[in-house]
Amino acid sequence: MDGILNALILLSNFVIVPAMAYGSQLALGALAVTLIYAILRFSDFAQGDTMAFGAMATILLTWALQYWGVSIAPLPTALLALPFGVLCTIALCLLIDRWVYRFYRRVKAKPEVLMIVSVGVMFVYNSVVRLIIGPGDRWFVDGERFIITAPTFKRLSGFSEGVAFKTTQGLTILMAIIVVAALFWFLNRTRTGKSMRAYSDNEDLALLSGIDPERVVRTTWFIAATLATIAGVMYGLDKSFKPFTYFNLLLPIFAAAIVGGLGNPLGAIVGGFTIAFSEVALTYAYRKFVGYLAPGDWTPEGLVQLLSTDYKFAVSFVILVLVLLLRPTGIFGRRSS
């Protein structure tokens, strides 16, 4: 009995808790991608670098606050700087929309053209971030590191395995819940939110109803930039900030959005957690886990790892391919249009 419980605790510590946090980050990113797709009707490849930009802006203010000695311990100072990062990112997105994307909306460019444009934007963001903060790893986390540490857990529970729950993990999950709840409330309960859904559903009829498309687009960037910054900062707090890793998040984020059905917010969340859990679960070494479950003192010789961590993008990719083969419109996809 103890063996099973210890195995479960082990699994919580190394799979469930990290995957929950990572899934929350992916879900927020995928929500931004899916909203932009629903309203602007293209896949925004600049999303990863938008996250990086938002995180960068937040980090810069965090450092300043840390330097001035402002602190909200035990919470990380970055939370205080987050609104500033969000505002910077919103400003950037609105500016780029005005300078770049608006023109293509006016000429009704094909989605593929907009995709290439977004790749161009991605490289501009990419270099801006590297110019300002450099390409290396940056740490900005402070405050209490753990909500509960593994030794404390062991002491309190008496088990030989412990669950460590990092503050950043807890905050990420909490933040994701708040943001998602707010977003769904906005989309389903407010007039502006409903007008966004209407515009996404039927652009022509939305125009006939007097909905202003430019306002809808501005609201979308506003929300997408907010989501991207929160996702970016949470990822940076949880792991570390390095511009290149944000670019690499593009694949799992898109996989999440597509798995859930591009354009569907609920799908983006489910997709985010699907990808995160698969990635963590398939690359975890189950050696000790099997050892607890197996009778006696036997533990397997190898790591019992299904896939080396070097191949974690392969997980997103394989799930993506499976969904494309079995259900091309995604789990929650509407009609493919």
Partner: protein
Amino acid sequence: MTMNDSEDYLLGENMTGGYGGPDILNGCTIGARSGEITVVVGPNGSGKSTAMKALFGMLGMREGTVRLGGEDITGLSPQDRVVRGMSLVPQTGNVFTSMTVEENLEMGAFIREGDIADTMGRVFDLFPVLKEKRRQLAGELSGGQRQQVAVGRALMTRPKVLMLDEPTAGVSPIVMTELFEQILYIAGDGIAILMVEQNARQALSIADRGYVLVQGRNRYTDTGPALMMNTEVRRAFLGG
């Protein structure tokens, strides 16, 4: 019967234009009066739907003017025309399928400030079945109910002119009769109704005025019953 254009609340005169290629409208004139039903009929490709688009500002006209309540609105965008009291029910894609009936009506009233419960109540009075199904997604309704949502959405702006592009396309004869009755009722509120119809016979029977278009030009204009009595119109357009 003589036509007095000054009574027309909405009037498109000498409308000429197309979608960039050859002209589809060749100087046609269409008007609609408050509280009356105006029906535009004609063979396929005669420019009926194009004339509706021209009236609503969705087509760049080379010549001609559109007046609303005596004011020239030729240069206004469709959205601006909505604000001035025009409302259009397109033939296809005329409901937000992923939204509930109630949300569809709310979106119809998007340009309005203030309380819309009153207008929504009137729409529910007109289409009682929508009240029952107001929490259902519009995409899950039957064809006839969808048309009702579409008309209801268009009424939410409290328009002075309601334009319907083939409202009975693809619905059953029973639903069609019901829908025409409801349209008569709407006209009774003093709204000018302008509709394009394939089911020319039934539509003309409720029309105060009918236009027969051929190749983008006015061919016959008269009251609905008079057009139905006209032997040429009957032979050529109403199937005998």
